[in-house]
Amino acid sequence: MKASMPSTEKARRKGLFTRLGRLFINGLNSFLRNARLHEPNNKAFLQSLNALMVSIEPIFEEDSHASIEVNKDAIFVNEVRVRPDASCSASYRALIIDFNRRGVGGILIKEGCNKQNLIDTARIWRFNEPGEESLLDTLNEQIKEAGAEHFIAFTKPRFIADSEEESMGDPREFALHVYGQAVSYLRGLPRQIAMGKMASARRAKRLVQSFVDLSSRRDFNFTALAVIKNYDEYTYSHSVNVSVLCISFGQRLGLSRSELVDLGMAGLFHDVGKLSVPINILNKPGKFDSGEWQIMKNHSTKGFIKLISMPEFGPAHFKRAIVAFEHHCDYDLGGYPRKSNPRPLHLFSRICAIADTYDAMTSKRIYQPAFSPDQAIKILLEKSGKKYDPLLVRAFVSAMGVYPVGTVVVLDTGEVGIVLEANPYSLSMNRPKVKLVGKSPDDPLLGTVADLTEQDEKGRFKRTILHPADPAFFGIDVAKFLFSDIQTSNSGQGV
């Protein structure tokens, strides 16, 4: 009765190691945490040791080793990518942070490893905190000294191919396609509403689900999508950007896949009330008079009413409507619309307010030029605690990096580059990946990506940021440059 599909074994291992891997991740994290807190004869430490042994045993029934490898924001157990669920999300994040801080790729435990080997490993882990250069070598040398080298090894960071990702094709091309679809969806929304049709959120949900898939890819910097700006259709592209930023930020906060979709949908619809604001007011170059300002301020409540008149009804829908209502309410309960009975804002509203402001500030409007990303971050920090949740602002900055994606930077080599990917690790936040802008169209360095953590043979950094710069000064079209090698699926034309 069994169907012999080529993917059967792969699927079986995926299922098995997802289940066992979550236990292993919890076991290892608890063990290493206890190793830092307690002496080896401590009861809690010994309990976590036993729990770790129990979590490894079933893996040895399948393979002769049990390995955990941290790869960017993902953990692989015996080469199978394990997605976190509610049972292990905290351990998952903690292990990623812990291993990345130490520059260690993972740990390999071989069959035959005993409790003493693990106790020795815990001791070594405990006394070798991050900061030291070539920590990985030190760890493995000490493992050898303890006589555990046949059973335990710390491994180098490496890229592990994920079969799921490989099958999805070029993520940037796909991302642009989804982005375009999302703008098209929003563009069509007022027409549908005007015609009395209830616009279903079904299509939007599929698009946001695609965004969430993209956000977890390790070969694509999803946040870069928010660098795309569209001056003529600002309201639509801004909404899509807010959705992108919300998802990206929500992922850092450890939200689940379906929560990310809810948050992304909330971001996409947060300004739906603006669809009924006359275009001459939206695009007014000067200051609003009091009537116009009132109309602008009403977009939050209008958006709320628009959303509740849509046919959907459920928790995700409630959250969307709450965000539409609250995204201009301040953290200190000021802002608008004023509530007669002010209560703390929903988490999604606080996230969306930050993403909304960040994207609005970094977009050129008829009434304001665009701020550079790092300027926008600075302003967010200045207003945190009043307009914005200070903790979330700090987390947002931490997620975006001190030089957010799209920032034009001047390097100590004299080169100019655009930040392509923030460095999430605290000690290296000022060392993102940068796409180099050549000095001329035929410069061989044009478009190459430089990792600013790269060092030369003497251990000196090859490139360091001197300061951020105004893209106009260099005549750089940031979004176009970041996506310059993408061809649209429809036309085959380079953009």
């Binding site: 599909m5 299509r203 209560r343 050129k364 700090r394 429809n490």
Partner: protein, 566 residues
């Protein structure tokens, strides 16, 4: 017993698959009808799990093809709909499911997720934002694979391949960066007080403590019910000036909220919503709109639906507070009466029953017609008991005329309820009826009736009780009934029966004296009366009477003394 694909399945294999697919279809259907913790559904689920385990243990993996009206395995039909286009297979086919693969290692939660995917009615579900594609994505199955029809995946309604004009994509990439340099410089100047932007100018990392705080924030958001915050905002807007169209949308949403709150057993919030809806009608005045009428209509409809859902929840859940359920059912619109009666006939849960009785007592306070009709029409003993209870709680003497027939009802419990109800009517009309009940063949009815008569302060009651004590059958009564009669006699007669009781202590009185139970009961009755003359009789009995009477009198006296000393 693994077989290669293409191998002809044997009869047993097919039988196992027939059983599994039938169980799957049955469970999906039941999931649409019953609440999650319904016993029938739980049984079906448990059977389904057993079938699934058997199938996967034997075969490791199961690949089913979904076709219109049937499900096939390797070309053999393993499930067939009975009616065309109406059955389980047709439903999942129409939803877009084409192939279903289940693998060994499938967990219980994956099975629940699969059922959720199959149960959702994508065409009629209120929450229209999901289709099969979004739902399957959301589940993120590991051991389940669902192949979805290409036309659903590429549905033009959902996914427009021509939506992105290449020219447009190019225009998205036109960076909207600085245009007017002067303007930008001015803007940058405005914020120049912020100083140099750069890694050293601000804290850019999150500490471990802050990470924990963030995790707690996320957890708090997970645990909070967005419906409550959402409802707050609906009323926030209802309290402000709105145009009629917006007001209708908001009122409609509030009524939907009420329905959902009741479905989740959030009775306190539901009550608050009803109260606030009522006040909207009172407070708002909008030109060209009868807000009061609008609210009244909404409330009538919403009340009925909310009551239904709250009662559904209360039937299943363990965490319902009866007092909250009562309060909620009471504040609803009177249109719920029929529903409450309907539920009263069907409920098996005592706390729901008592809530319904209380709520009906409230709602029927000015709807006697409905009660009268029910009293006349109902033959269900349980319902009759509740109806009698309700009319007694309302206490309108107009209902008294319906009670005599229940004193002759064949069900003891109905008669008992009728006697109890009579006692709650403070009316002289009830005494003859209670006296009639004193002759009921069932002792518990007689006891209830005696107790009710004891507090009636009616001379007819006294005479009736006395008659029972003096009847020839007295000695056949149980000790309890004898004691009840004497206590009632004492309470009704008080001082006037002291000499009558005193005579019963006398050995030569002809009442049977100390050798009869009457002597001892008389001692208890005198103690109940407790007046000085009654105490004198007891004291006398304690010194001069026969031994058993002496002992009884001494006990009664010491109890009284104790009572007095606190």
């Amino acid at each position: 017993m693994d077989k290669e694909k293409g191998e002809v399945s044997d009869t047993r294999d097919l039988a196992v698959l027939h059983a599994f697919t039938a169980a799957l279809a049955r469970t999906v259907k039941a999931s649409r009808i019953y609440l999650p913790n319904n016993e029938v559904l739980l049984t079906f689920k448990s059977e389904l799990k057993d079938h699934l385990k058997e199938v996967l243990e034997e075969n490791g993996e199961l690949e089913l093809d979904v076709q219109p009206g049937e499900i096939r395995f390797q070309g053999s039909t393993v499930y067939k709909d009975i009616g065309a286009n109406k059955g389980f297979a047709s439903k999942i086919y129409n939803d877009g499911m084409r192939r279903l693969i289940l693998r060994q290692g499938m967990t219980e939660s994956e099975l629940d997720d699969l059922l959720d995917v199959m149960v959702t009615d994508y065409e009629e579900e209120v929450n229209l934002e999901d289709d099969l594609v979004t739902k399957v994505w959301e589940k993120d199955f590991t051991n389940v694979e669902i192949t979805i029809a290409e036309e659903i995946l590429r549905s033009t309604d959902i996914w427009d391949p021509n939506a992105v004009d290449p020219e447009k994509v190019a225009s998205y990439l036109e960076y909207a960066g600085p245009g007017n340099e002067d303007e930008e410089n001015a803007m940058v100047q405005e914020f120049s007080f912020l100083g140099t932007v750069g890694p050293s100018s601000y804290q850019h990392t999150v500490t471990m403590e802050e990470l924990k705080e963030l995790e707690a924030e996320v957890q708090k958001a997970r645990l909070s019910n967005p419906l409550l915050a959402f409802n707050e905002l609906v009323f926030e807007l209802l309290d402000s000036d709105r145009n009629p169209e917006e007001l209708r949308i908001l009122l409609e949403t509030a009524s939907r909220n009420l329905y959902h709150m009741a479905s989740q057993g959030l009775l306190e919030a539901s009550m608050e919503t009803v109260e606030r809806l009522k006040s909207v009608g009172l407070l708002l005045s909008i030109p060209d709109m009868d807000v009061d009428k609008e609210v009244e209509n909404i409330l009538a409809r919403a009340s009925l639906q909310a009551a239904q859902r709250a009662l559904d929840y209360a039937e299943q859940a363990q965490d319902v507070r009866t007092d909250e359920l009562i309060s909620f059912l009471k504040i609803l619109d009177g249109t719920v009466i029929d529903l409450l009666f309907e539920r009263l006939e069907s409920t098996k849960r005592p706390h729901v029953r008592s809530a319904l009785v209380e709520a009906l007592t409230h709602h029927c306070g000015n709807r006697h017609d409905i009660l009268r009709t029910k009293l006349l029409e109902s033959s269900n003993p349980a319902l009759l008991r509740d109806l009698i209870n309700i009319i007694a709680a309302i206490g309108d003497s107009g209902f008294l005329k319906y009670l005599p027939k229940f004193l002759r009802h064949h069900e003891v419990q109905v008669r008992a309820e009728a006697v109890r109800a009579l006692g709650r009517f403070k009316s002289a009309e009830v005494v003859p009826l209670l006296l009639m009940a004193l002759k009921d063949p069932q002792e518990r009815i007689r006891l209830t009736s005696t107790r009710q008569l004891a507090y009636s302060e009616d001379i007819r009651a006294f005479e009736g009780i006395k008659e029972r004590i003096e009847s020839q059958d007295f000695n056949k009564f149980s000790m309890t009934e004898q004691r009840y009669l004497f206590t009632a006699l004492a309470l009704l007669g008080k001082e006037s029966v002291v000499s009558y009781l005193s005579r019963m202590l006398d050995d030569t009185s002809g009442f049977g004296g100390h050798s009869s139970p009457k002597g001892i009961n008389a001692v208890h009755a005198l103690a109940t009366i407790g007046t000085p003359s009654a105490l004198d009789v007891l004291k006398k009995g304690a010194t001069k009477g026969p031994r058993k009477i002496k002992e009884a009198c001494n006990r009664a006296l010491s109890k009284l003394a104790n009572k007095r000393s606190g």
